[in-house]
Amino acid sequence: MRYKSQKLAYWFFALSMLLLTLQIVYGFIMAFAHLGYDVLHPVIAFNTARAVHTNLLVVWLLSGFMGAAYYIIPEEAEHEMVNVKLGFVQLISLAVVGVIAIIGYHFNYWEGRKFLEIPRPLDYLVVINVLTFLGLIIATLYKGKKRTTTSLVLTMGLVFAALLYLPGMIWFDNQTMDSFFRWWVVHLWVEGVWELIMGGILAFLLIKITGVDREVIEKWLYVIVGLTFISGVLGTGHHYYYIGTPKYWLIIGGIFSAMEPLAFLGMALFAIAMYRKGEKKHPNKIALSWTLGTAIVSFVGAGLLGLAHTFPQVNMYTHGTLVTAMHGHLAFWGAYAMIVLAIISYSMPNMTGRKLFDSTTGVLAFWLSNIGMLGMTVAFGVAGVAQVYLERKMGLDFGDVQKEIQVHFLILIVCATMFTTGIGLFIYEFIRYGLPTDEALESVN
């Protein structure tokens, strides 16, 4: 059964695609600056590019999650979205707040706290926006016929994500305290509740694509939720090693964050097992690629590459170097970018009625973007490890080391170009699908 109000998802996905494009542009600005071509410095200084790059990432992913929720919840609850007009208001206000924040960053209007740069007055608008979104989702679930585990896990993730935004809005005089609570937002989002959102979307996709029984898939979901909470909550400790906090965090953070890959390993095994078990072969091969891809790449990027520098003895040297950028890129790509691209790939044919799911363009988009991002990760990794040895072990000056590792940014740009080509093809396909129609949604089984 499909519902007309699912069309709303399309517009959130379209916003995601637009912001992703901009995010990549700002990424190139930074890569060229690292290479020594900081030509835009007077207009877009590095700190502006950096804030725009990371904030656009957060906003496009959130827009993607919201779109996913607007698509999934009606279908799971078997009820039309309660108020589609309010959903459009929410979409537009999200876009407006995002655009104002991004423009502000070009005029020194921000709160210089990594990842939470959105200025305070706009924070309140974000809160109102998210409450509207949650209100719509929860009301639809409440009125719906069914409350499935998949929809509840997805909603729980979204509700916690909203609640966890609040500790980031408290002012502290003490930099240590400031950082301590900033991680409640940043860490508990990406290594906690966002994993629930990812798990929810992944379960939905696997139910639809593999045809395996809901009961089987949802049992796995409980395991993943459990592993996420056991490891992720105290795993926050790996951000508390060297910021002026007591020594016991070295032990707590070390032990629990070392368990964090388990949740991602669970998701990877889960996706592969369900794919093998599935008897129904869904024709949408591209959605299947992205679904299996997100499960596997998130395990490598977020799980293994995170583990690589999560122990205090290693992190002492890698903390605050390009090694972090190496892990960050493949983790966000694998876990969150790819899950959004997976739900888009799955839902577009259903919303528009066009079946473009075995086009060469789509296959190329998948491989070029993934290989490109892997190459970027390697470039960051080599630069980061070299930086660690030269600066932290040998004691060479920061600037001298940056000159030595500059060449790796050339490789980074080459790989980023490949990645961008892949994303470009994905967006080309997105546009080729056209707009969603009522007829398309009514005609699908």
């Binding site: 930074m30 600056a33 410095h41 700190n47 950096r50 210089g112 950082s179 972090t324």
Partner: protein, 115 residues
Amino acid sequence: MEVGKHSDEENLTAQVVRGKVLWEANNCMGCHTIMGEGAYYAPELTKVVERRGEGYMKAVLMSKTPWSPRGRKMVAYGFSEEQANDLVAFFTWIGNTDLNGFPPKPDYKSTINTK
């Protein structure tokens, strides 16, 4: 509070807080790291007072043209003398925080001639 003890809460003066406000208002973390947190475009500043000294820092902070060691530009903030002092106080305070040994002392520095 336990966290406070490590972070030298006693010496957290109004001047240090003014420095922190400037640090955030200008998104210094968008290029630099402090306590290892931030971006990786410009140097780690936790021990900057020890490494560079007050005079050098104030010259950079008050410069009217972009400071560009080895060609990598810093925004020319042109801070007033008072603001520069506030920021130096902030960095001095950060430098006195007990960070469980971070940043690590280089193992081979004494054996390498960097001149």
